[in-house]
Each structure stands twice: as structure tokens, then as C-alpha cells.
């Protein structure tokens, strides 16, 4: 078995892993970047639509263009890249972490490192996760898989399409399927409001007169070998109103019903998971419950923007390097999700080095206010023009904010939205 040693090992080379690698390499630190696919860039490569890069590169790019720029930076650095290589096991208890990898080129490969950054991204929820009754015919795909088939493999999954879920991936695929000549008959959303960005509703549905059924569910899938139709049922006060249900004939059903961080490897390594995010619980330095193991990007919590993944990953890379130098926070206080906040990441704050916090609201509201309270005392208030659950928000805690705080050892910072 081939054995290699690095200061830092990064698992996954999407927007997160690539940004972390560039940052780590800037600090005179050796770094291995391991990716199971043959290409770098992760999910970005199949997202051929524009809407990426406004913050990272100050221009609007497509996913492959965003990835291309990141890859150029990695190739110009001293990072060693291993593609077609899957990490199958991570032993992270000791000071020296051991990752067992498999690749057709090397067979089994063991990489040891003092710090590991988890950047494995997420996977899609499928039909099993949403439990739709009916037959199990062919023609049911997750939206991201369909996106990969159309954009990378050049294969068109069907001609008459219904989409379940109004998240951005579903919306983008509604336009994409229309542009490859299919007819998209409807998008069905269980919530009373769309879960994707308004601009995607306009550009991807309204532009093509595709109806969006809010507060509706697909209550049955029918078809012998191939899907033939779906039953669509309105919700009245949250209860399916079968009397008013109707059928839509289709040969393809795309499911865009959410993403889940891919944490099997992390769990086996003993990393504690946050039930609110399905990602790791991390401290102020993005370090998980396992010493020297860090996490960022969609494997930590599902992001809407690749730009934010890159920003978070850069910070994580910096913290991993600091860890190698034994530069750890002197104190940390706990951050708690308060009223109308689903979760907040990270879950700790270093008062001597406060940083950005990402969070999601539980409510839809214009002219909202974000409140920070330290041990129940208001310490900061920020106006936010619009909040909704599907849009990730952030707040930057500044050193000058913290200067006036009366911080105790067991202080708690509570974040709420009103």
C-alpha cells in the first residue's frame, strides 16, 4: 500500500475544497486535495446556468466558469491533487489522522495528515425520503441527476415533465428541460410560498408559462413500466383535499425536494452531527468535535451560493493552518438559535476573533430585524430588508461590537429574527 504524508488533507474538490486548498497552500503548508470524480469542481460543473461568482470574482459566471477559475488557482499552487480517488475510511482519533483512499491508479492509498478538512458536499433527497405512494415505474429522477444527464452526458430523460419542489434546482431544470425541447407541465410545491429565488420563478417558470401549484402535493405516482401520470392534490389547511385532486399525464417526474450533507465518512470518524443541519457541529474555528478535523461547504450545511461556500472554506483553511501552529482560541462562547432562527453556523464565537455567522430564518418577512442578545441583554441589532427560509443570511460580528460586551465564562449569545 502506498503511503503519503501531508500537513493538511482536504476531502472533496468542489467550490469548498478548492477554495480551502488555495488558502492552505498560501501558508507554507503541504496539502493534498482528494476527489472521487475525474474532474475538479464538484457540483459546479453540471450547473451550466449563470448566477455564480458575483461576490468571489465580481462578475456573473456559470458554474463551470466559476470552477475553472478556482482550478487555475489550485494548479498554480503547490497543492497535490488526487482525482479519481475516494476516501473510504478516516481514522482521526490520534494526532496523526489516517485516511484510506481507493483509486484505480494506486489501488489502496493511505494518506496521513495532522489536520483534515471535510468538504464532501451534499446529496439529493429522493422519493424514499418524501414517501409518495403508488407504483415504482421508471422515469422518476432527482432534479440534480437529471441535470447531470442533460448537461454532462447529453441524454434527455423525457418529453413530458412534472417537477416536485420549487427549490432552485427544480426551477433551473424547468427552464433547461424546456430549452432541450421537453414540455414542463407543472411545478408542485407543498409550501404556500416558493422555496427558490424569485428571479428563478420569473426566468425559469413565468418566461415559459409553466404553472406553479403552491400548497399542492403529488399524492400518487402511476404507470406500469414507465411513469404515465401523477395525481396532484391541493392542501386545505395542510390536509390533502382528495376531492379536488387532478391528474397530469407525464413520462418524467423530477424531484427537487432538498439536499442532505454527505456525512457517512464524518460519522464513522466520530464527528458529532448537528440535527438542525445534518452537518457537523463546529466551533468558532470550524473545527468539529474531533480535534484537528474541520468542515466547510455543503457537507457542513447546505448553501445557496457557491460564493459563500468559497468564503467559508477559505476561513476554514486559515483555521486549519492556525491549528497546526497551535494557535487556538483562548475562550469561546456558545451561540444559540433563538426565535425564528432554524440554525446558526458556527455554533461558537471566539470573542477575541469574532467572525461571520451564517443562519437561516424560519419565517418570511420584509423589513425584518436581527437581534443578538448576550445572556438576555440586547447587544446588536441589524435591519434585513427581506428574510425567507430558503435564503441563507449572514451577520458579521466585529471586534468593536464585542469590545463593550460583558463576557463571562458560560455566556451565551442568542440570535433571533423578528
Amino acid at each position: 500500500m502506498k503511503e503519503l504524508h501531508y500537513d493538511v488533507l482536504i476531502i472533496g474538490a468542489g467550490a469548498g475544497g478548492l477554495a480551502a486548498a488555495v488558502e492552505v497552500s498560501k501558508h507554507d503548508t503541504s496539502c493534498a486535495l482528494v476527489e472521487r470524480e475525474s474532474h475538479l469542481g464538484g457540483i459546479l460543473v453540471q450547473c451550466i446556468h449563470n448566477g455564480f461568482g458575483l461576490e468571489e470574482f465580481k462578475e456573473e459566471l456559470t458554474g463551470p466558469e466559476f470552477a475553472d477559475r478556482q482550478v487555475q488557482q489550485v494548479l498554480a499552487s503547490n497543492v497535490d491533487v488526487y482525482t479519481d480517488t475516494t476516501v473510504t475510511q478516516l481514522d482521526a482519533d490520534g494526532d496523526l489522522k489516517e485516511a484510506y483512499c481507493f483509486s484505480p491508479a494506486y489501488g489502496v492509498l493511505k494518506i496521513t495528515a495532522h489536520a483534515v478538512i471535510l468538504a464532501m458536499g451534499c446529496r439529493e433527497r429522493n422519493r424514499g425520503n418524501i414517501r409518495t405512494p403508488g407504483t415504482r415505474p421508471a422515469g422518476v429522477y432527482t432534479a440534480g441527476l437529471a441535470q447531470r444527464l442533460v448537461n454532462i452526458e447529453g441524454y434527455i430523460p423525457g418529453k413530458d415533465v412534472v417537477i416536485v419542489g420549487s427549490g432552485d434546482i427544480g426551477l433551473i431544470m424547468a427552464r433547461r428541460m424546456t430549452w432541450v425541447g421537453a414540455k414542463v407541465h407543472a411545478v408542485i410545491e407543498i409550501q404556500p410560498y416558493p422555496s427558490g429565488l424569485t428571479r428563478n420563478i420569473v426566468q425559469c417558470l413565468n418566461d415559459f408559462d409553466i404553472p406553479l401549484y403552491l400548497s399542492h402535493v403529488v399524492s400518487r405516482i402511476e404507470g406500469k413500466d414507465r411513469i404515465e401520470k401523477v395525481r396532484v392534490c391541493p392542501l386545505a389547511n395542510g390536509i390533502p383535499d382528495e376531492d379536488n385532486s387532478f391528474d397530469i399525464p407525464c413520462d418524467t417526474l423530477l424531484l427537487s425536494v432538498g439536499l442532505v450533507p454527505e456525512n457517512e465518512l464524518s460519522k464513522e470518524a466520530g464527528v458529532q452531527i448537528n440535527p438542525q443541519t445534518n452537518g457537523a457541529l463546529v466551533d468558532a474555528t470550524m473545527m468539529t468535535s474531533v480535534d484537528g478535523v474541520f468542515s466547510c461547504g455543503n457537507v457542513l450545511h447546505v448553501h445557496d451560493l457557491a460564493d459563500w461556500v468559497a468564503e467559508e472554506a477559505r476561513r476554514t483553511g486559515r483555521y486549519a493552518v492556525a491549528y497546526l501552529r497551535d494557535e487556538r482560541p483562548k475562550r469561546q462562547i456558545r451561540i444559540k438559535a433563538g426565535a425564528n432562527v432554524r440554525y446558526i453556523n458556527p455554533t461558537m464565537l471566539d470573542p477575541d476573533n469574532p467572525d461571520k455567522l451564517y443562519f437561516r430564518s424560519l419565517i418570511v418577512k420584509n423589513q425584518a430585524k436581527l437581534h443578538l442578545k448576550l445572556d438576555h441583554n440586547p447587544v446588536k441589532e441589524v435591519k434585513i430588508s427581506h428574510v425567507q427560509p430558503s435564503e441563507m443570511l449572514h451577520v458579521k460580528v466585529k471586534p468593536k461590537d464585542v469590545a463593550s460586551w460583558n463576557i463571562m465564562k458560560d455566556s451565551v449569545l442568542e440570535v433571533s429574527v423578528e
Binding site: S38, V45, I48, H49, N50, E60, L61, T62, P64, E65, D68, V150, N151, I152, E153, G154, R176, W179, V180, L197, T198, R199, I201, V202, Q203, N206, D207, S385, H386, E391
Partner: protein, 126 residues
């Protein structure tokens, strides 16, 4: 004077707020906009009313072992009426590597001044 009916309603897509805009015309045929929370909403409404345009992203066939489709896009927004024709032209085309990201594949499509460019590089070795 009774408030006149809007000639068109639309949602501004210039930022995530998504303001609901109403467009009015006066006797001099001048456009006015309400519902916008900022000036960009007016620019959006005027463009969307007189000449709606979109960035188009799709793929074309690539003569490549590992990547059968090359992602492509317009370098600027294309008037909506030309979108279907541009997509047809892209699908009818086959590109040979090497292709550089940003390389022009179709120049000045139908006199619109808009180019179709590659949005990924494809090296010789592919």
C-alpha cells in the same frame, strides 16, 4: 383624476427582494414605474417592457472522449425572440478540442452583437 390602470405588471429580478412593479404610460407615451424599492427597478422595467433580454446557457456537442457536451453561453443578454434560434444553432454544432473557456463559437448572432462562447475549456488530451 382617476388612477389609470397599469399597462403591465412584472417582478423585478435585479435583486432577491423581487419587487412587484406596475408600469404606466402618460399621454406623451412616457413610461413610469411604481412599486420599485430602488432605481434599478426602473431600468429593469424599461428594458423588460421595450426589449426583454436573457442570458442563454446550454450545451453543444463536443468531439471528446470524456466530455460529450461542452457548456456554452451568450456573452451578453440576448433579445428573447432570438433565444430559440440560438439554442437550435448551438445544438446543431459540433466543436473540436482544444477549446478555451471564453472562446467565441458563434459571432454576432443574427446581428444582435451577442456572441455564443464556450463556458469551459476542453484540452487537446480529451
Amino acid at each position: 383624476m382617476s388612477r389609470q390602470e397599469p399597462i403591465q405588471e412584472m417582478i423585478c429580478i435585479s435583486c432577491p427582494l423581487g419587487c412587484h412593479l406596475s408600469l404606466y404610460k402618460n399621454d406623451k407615451d412616457e413610461l413610469s414605474v411604481t412599486g420599485n424599492k430602488c432605481a434599478r427597478g426602473i431600468v429593469y422595467a424599461e428594458e423588460e417592457f421595450y426589449a426583454p433580454k436573457r442570458i442563454v446557457t446550454c450545451t453543444c456537442r463536443a468531439e471528446s472522449r470524456i466530455l460529450p457536451r461542452l457548456p456554452v453561453r451568450t456573452n451578453a443578454s440576448l433579445p428573447k425572440e432570438h433565444i430559440n434560434d440560438l439554442i437550435k444553432a448551438a445544438y446543431a454544432m459540433t466543436v473540436k478540442p482544444p477549446v478555451a473557456c471564453g472562446q467565441v463559437l458563434i459571432e454576432d448572432f443574427k446581428g444582435t452583437g451577442v456572441n455564443l462562447i464556450a463556458s469551459m475549456s476542453l484540452g487537446d488530451g480529451h
